[in-house]
Amino acid sequence: MEQIQIPPVDLAVVAPLITVVGWAIVLLLVDVFFVPAGQKRITGYLGIAGLVMAGAVAAPLWGSDSSTFGGMLVLDNFALALTWIFLLIGAISMVIALDYLPRQGIEQGEFYPLIMFAVSAMMLLGQSANLIVMFLGIELLSITLYILTGFAYPRLSSEEAAMKYLLLGAFAAGFFVYGIALIYGQTGTVQLFSTAPGQESLAEYLGRQTFAAVDLTLLLVGSGLVLVAFGFKVALVPFHMWTPDVYEGAPTPVTAFMSVGTKGAALAALLRLLDMALPSLQPIWLPVLATLAAVTMLLGNLGAIAQSNVKRMLAYSSIGHAGYLLLGVMTVSERGVQGFLFYLLAYSLTNLGAFAVLIALEQRGEAAWSLDDFAGLWQRQPFLALAMAVFMLSLAGVPPTAGFVGKFYVFMAAWEGGLGWLALVGMLTSAIAAFFYLRVIARMFMQEPVRDVQPQLFRGLTLGISIAAAGTLIFGILPTLLINVVQQTALAVGR
C-alpha cells in the first residue's frame, strides 16, 4: 500500500481566510453562551473586529505570489485586493445591520457569523485556482446567503425569496458540477493553471494541443454549463429572473451585501477561469460573453425604468452593473483586470450606501421604498438626501464620483480589447440608466413630501452611509489613489 503524500502547507497563503473562518466559528459559540438576548449587537461589534483583524493579517502579504495545497489556492495581489474589498463589504453590511435587526424584530446573533462565513467564501473564490475549490466557495457562499435571505422569518416575502433563491441556486449548482465533470473528462484535471513546473492544468492542456488536432467537445460543453451556473450566480440576463424577487424579499442589509459581494466573488472566479485557464479559447467564448454582457446591460437598465419601488429598481440596476463588470472580465488584459477591480470597489461602496439609505426609510412592518416616499426627503433629512444623491450620481456614472471613473476604466478596457461596439452599448445604456437614477434625485429635491415617512438615522447607519459616500467621492475626485493600487495587481493574464 502506497503512502499518500501530503504536500507541505503554507499557512501564510490562507492566513486571512483562516482568521475569518476561525473567528466566525468561535463567534458563533460566544454568541450562544455569553451574549445575552437583546444585546446581540455585541456580536456584531465582535464580528466587525474580526473582519478588521483579517484585513490587518492580510496587509503584510501584499506583493507575494505563492500557492499552497498543491496549487489549489493561490495568493497574489489580485486575490489580496479582492480580499480587502470583500472584508470592507462585509464590515459595512454588518454596520448597517446593527440597528436594522432589532428594529425589524429579527435580532439573532447568528446573523453576524453568517455574514463572516459568506465573506470567507468570497475570499476563497478570489483565491481559488482549482474548480473543486471554486465549487466549494460558490456553495458555501450560496448556502449562507439562502439562510440570510430567509432571515426575516416569519415575514412571508423573506421566506419566499429564500426558497426561490435556493431552488435556482441549487439548480445552477447542478449545472456547475456537471460542467466540471465534463471538463475533467476531457482534460483529466480540474486545476486552472499550473502553479509548479510539471503540474497538470487546463492552461497546460490547452497549451499542448492545437485546435485542429483534438476534439474539444467535452471541454466546450462543460465550460458552457459552468458559464450558465456563473450566469445564475451573477444574474446575467437570460438567467436573472430570480434577482428582483430575491433582492426585494431579503432583509435590506442582506440585499446590499449580496448585490455587491456575490457578483464580485463569482465574477472574480470567472475571471480566473477565463483569463488564466481558457485564454486560448477566447475566440470561442468571447462572442458568447459579449452578447450576454450587451443583453444584460440593456435589459437590466430597461427593466429598472419600469419600477416605482426603489428597492426593486436597485435590483434591476444591479443586473445592469453585472454587465459592466463583465466588460472588465472578458477582455483578457491587464487593463481589464484593473478596471474590474476599480469598478467593483466603486460599485460596492455606492450600492451599499444606496441600500443603507433604504434602511433608514424602512420602518418596522412597513417598507417605504416607493418613489413617493423619497419625495421631499431633502426637507426632512438633508443628510440622507445628499448621500442618496451622491450614490445615484455614482451609479449613473456622473463625474466626480467613483462610478464615473469605474465606467470609464472598463469601457476603455473594452475599447482597447477590440470590443468598441460593446463600449458603445455600455455608454448608451448608461444614458438610459441616468434617467431613473436622476428621477430619484428630482423627487428628493424638487417635490413636497407625499406620504408621512419618518426616516430614522442611527449611529451605525450614519457611519455606514458616511463611509460609503466619502469613499465614492474620494475615489471619484482622486482616482489615482486607487489606480496606483490596482495597477500593482498585474495578474499574469493570457499565459
Binding site: I143, G150, L156, M163, L167, F171, Y178, I180, G188
Partner: protein, 105 residues
C-alpha cells in the same frame, strides 16, 4: 470491469439521470419534488466524475475526491432546503411552487 462496461454506457446513464433531474426540477410543482430533481442532477455529475476517474485517470484521485465533496455539499443544501420548505409550509399551508407568489413586478 472496465472491459465489460464501456465508458460510453456509464456516461449515457449519467446523461439520462441529469436530464430526468432537470425535467423534475423544471416541471414539478411540489417544492420537495424540485429539490429531489436537483439532487438527481448532482448525482449524475458524481457518476460522471467517478467514471472518468476509473476509466481515464485511475492514478490520481481527483475524481473520487470531488465526488465526496459534492455529496457533502448536496447534504448541506438539502438540509437548508428542507428546513426552508417547512418554514414555507408553516406560513402558507402549502408546498406548491406556484402558490407561493407574493413577490411580483
Amino acid at each position: 470491469m472496465t472491459d465489460a462496461v464501456p465508458l460510453s454506457w456509464v456516461l449515457g446513464l449519467s446523461g439520462a439521470l441529469f436530464c430526468i433531474g432537470l425535467f423534475a426540477a423544471l416541471a414539478r410543482r411540489n417544492l420537495v419534488g424540485v429539490l429531489m430533481g436537483v439532487e438527481l442532477m448532482l448525482n449524475a455529475a458524481i457518476i460522471n466524475m467517478v467514471a472518468f476517474w476509473r476509466y481515464l485517470e485511475p492514478r490520481f484521485i481527483t475524481g473520487q475526491n470531488f465526488a465526496i465533496f459534492i455529496i457533502a455539499v448536496a447534504a448541506a443544501e438539502a438540509a437548508v432546503g428542507l428546513a426552508m420548505i417547512i418554514a414555507i409550509y408553516r406560513n402558507w399551508q402549502t408546498v406548491k411552487a406556484d402558490e407561493v407568489d407574493s413577490l411580483k413586478g
